[in-house]
Amino acid sequence: MLDIIISIFLVLGAGFALVGSIGLVRLPDFYTRLHGPTKATTLGLGGLLIASMIYFSSRGDVSLHELLVTLFLFMTAPVSAHLLAKAALHLRVRSEIDLPGDEQSKP
């Protein structure tokens, strides 16, 4: 029974990580590409870490190391996404639609 739960979490987590990477490759410009990895991949890693927590807890002692990685990742993913968006706005990376505050740079 526990094996089935762990397997479901593993395949779901790896599937979400793959969906995030497919979004990184397929989406048209940088600001839309930012959505795939920062949300889907972080969620997928959360699923994998839950599976690992259940697996190591079922083998003996309660294992809470994974909570450290999960907490750290869920705190730092939005911060790095915000920094990347700020850097892209600063460098005026090409966008599919008009960005706010960019009107005076156009002829």
Partner: protein, 89 residues
């Protein structure tokens, strides 16, 4: 059951890593490459967690935690360099 699930998850994560490396190679802007490197380290943490379950050893967690910390610091330093032209002012 569990061994098959680990194999499926490993192949999905490896495919995700290959897609990330593809974006690092073709990325038209430098921010695309930084974003792809960011995703690359998150997916490598997933690979390490899967290897830890596969080999039933908890040694891989310290490596995963270290990669999480150093990867975030690297992304933050690269973005700071792009924004300000300097990392520590």
């Amino acid at each position: 059951m569990l061994a098959n699930a680990i194999l499926i998850a490993l192949s999905l994560v490896i495919l995700a890593l290959v897609l990330n490396i593809w974006r690092v190679v073709i990325g038209p802007d430098i921010t695309d490459r930084i974003l792809a490197l960011d995703t690359l380290y998150i997916n490598s943490i997933a690979l390490l967690v899967l290897l830890g379950i596969h080999m039933a050893s908890s040694v891989y967690f310290e490596a995963a935690l270290l990669i999480a910390m150093i990867g975030f610091i690297g992304t933050a330093a690269l973005c700071k360099y792009l924004l300000r032209g300097d990392i520590i002012e």
